[in-house]
């Protein structure tokens, strides 16, 4: 099955994150100063940030069923679900949910990875049973 959506690429800051995604591994940022976990877009905390392996588990905070393609490369994929997932470590990650099933707030999610033919690998979400 082809992966919907446009090809994306890492930048210098996120190169380790996307390299890990290609190996089916989720990395998050953790502050060496206070130990706080951060999502990939954060660049500043009280100390240096390092990439650390995350559990790849979380719960649905909220979701939407997308009917109008948000990018032309999703035209053949609608409708699909997108969700904000609160990872076990605390950071939020927005992912496309790849399997059918109606989520609810708090539904458990496992992070897996999409490996599109073009562009970087990236995390997606699978709803887990209750």
């Amino acid at each position: 099955m082809t992966t919907p959506g446009p090809p994306i690429e890492a930048d210098a800051a996120t190169a380790p994150f996307f390299a890990a995604a290609a190996r089916d591994e989720l990395l998050l940022l953790r502050c060496k100063g206070c130990g706080a976990w951060h999502p990939p877009e954060v660049t500043t905390c009280c100390g240096p940030l390092e990439w650390v392996a995350a559990a790849g588990r979380g719960i649905v905070v909220t979701w939407a069923l997308v009917h109008t393609a948000p990018h032309p490369d999703f035209a053949d994929a609608v409708p699909f679900r997108t969700a904000i997932v609160e990872l076990t470590e605390g950071p939020w990650l927005q992912v496309r949910l790849t399997a059918a099933g109606e989520p609810a707030a708090g539904s458990p999610v496992r992070i897996t990875f999409a490996h599109p033919a073009e562009g970087a690998s990236y995390p997606v979400g699978v709803l887990e049973g209750p």
């Binding site: 994306i8 069923l65 609160e86």
Partner: protein
């Protein structure tokens, strides 16, 4: 603060094709200055803001032939910009940095034969690199992010799609009374419910219009305002709130917004309470933002914005008129200038068939980004000491 809005200019707006955003901006400024009974030579301050076309900039000075300005800037806080420009202008005239400041917004995203969605999508720049690209491949875009916010509100507080629909229906009733509004045909809740999904839980009729056009206001010191052509609209209160939501556990995204801080600050500066507010003009890029802003401003308890609107309070004849020109959902979409322009007309008492009888205190919101930026303005036909 010792400032008043003395001029208002609104260009032709809506499906008006073949004109650039800078052209609309210049037109709006000329109209606002004329409306005030001033000339362009009186203007010594200009604040400009762009929408999607991003081409309304400080070169508007040359386009208008303005000489020797003392204040000139392009400002950008997205939907909160109109309130932010007004705050900057009001402070400038109060402290003598300028005497007559024009604040303008214009945009021209629509082309003939193209849908609103296509007009906006075609001008969107997608993040395809680094961390922001994760939202793109997750299927996010501004409407989807608002759907995520609305869903969280619904899950947490029990807000329903029918309650969101009540916002659209109430505002369409107001729009029917507004000759400037694009959508004036009556709307039923059934039609709202039957309109296609854009990003569930948002139907098409939960989403605002897309319009071409421009709007400007002219601000001067309150003592000067009394001698001009129009009844002055005094700036009593100002506030902003930029929550900087963390993308992490504990975030209030979707539940509470920058309106909470911004509204309280603006009401405090004005020396009034929610119960003193006669008219409310809220930024309504989506029906949901009306609901959450009513709550955050304190017009109803948290979580009861949906039932509040469904009970009819905000519609014509209700206890709290909201978005009396039809708002961005049914009137016209000029970002923060939509609520601000209607507020000026109501405060003056010049809103025609839709004029509300009591308009001593008018409260205006602006909301930008994905609930990232909020501005509030409290206006009155009276100076602060004469309100209440």
């Amino acid at each position: 603060m010792d400032a008043a809005i003395v001029g208002l200019g609104i260009t032709e707006v809506g499906r008006v094709y073949g004109r650039s955003a800078p052209d609309f901006a210049a037109d709006a400024v000329r109209r606002a200055v004329t409306d005030a009974g001033l000339t362009l030579a009186d203007v010594d301050g200009l604040l400009v803001s762009s929408g999607t076309t991003q081409d309304v900039d400080v070169s508007l000075q040359r386009r208008l032939g303005l000489r020797d300005l003392r204040l000139l800037s392009a400002m950008q806080a997205f939907g909160a910009t109109a309130g932010a420009m007004l705050a900057h202008a009001a402070a400038a005239v109060t402290h003598g940095l300028a005497d007559v400041v024009a604040c303008v917004f214009a945009d021209a995203p629509r082309r003939a034969g193209e849908s609103s969605g296509a007009a906006y999508a075609g001008r969107r720049r997608y993040a395809l690199t680094g961390a922001p690209a994760l939202r793109t491949v997750a299927g996010g875009n501004p409407t989807v992010q608002y759907a995520l916010a609305a869903r969280r509100h619904m899950q947490t507080y029990g807000t329903t799609s029918e309650q969101l629909g009540a916002v659209a229906v109430a505002q369409r009733r107001w729009a029917a009374l507004n000759p400037l509004a694009e959508m004036r045909r009556p709307l039923t809740l059934d039609e709202h419910q039957a309109s296609r999904w854009i990003a569930e839980p948002l139907h098409l009729l939960d989403c605002c219009l897309v319009s071409n056009g421009g709007a400007a206001v002219v601000v001067t010191r309150a003592d000067r305002a009394a001698d001009l052509a129009r009844p002055p609209v005094h700036v009593l209160g100002l506030g902003q709130g930029h929550p900087g939501y963390p993308a992490a556990r504990g975030s209030g995204f979707g539940l509470t917004t920058g309106a909470a801080r911004s509204g309280a600050d603006a009401l405090g500066m004005a020396g009034v309470r929610t119960g003193d507010v006669d008219v409310l003009e809220l930024y309504d890029c989506y029906t949901y933002t009306v609901v959450v802003t009513l709550e955050d401003y304190g017009f109803c308890p948290k979580g009861e914005g949906g039932p509040f609107v469904a009970a009819g309070h905000t519609a014509p004849g209700g206890s709290l008129p909201v978005n009396t020109g039809g708002g961005q959902l049914s009137g016209y979409y000029l970002w923060g200038m939509t609520p601000l322009t209607e507020a000026v007309l109501q405060a003056r008492g010049h809103a025609g068939e839709r004029q509300v009888p009591r308009h001593d205190v008018v409260m205006v919101s602006g909301n930008g980004g994905i609930l990232d930026h909020h501005s509030t303005v409290v206006l009155s036909p009276h100076r602060r000491e004469r309100v209440r």
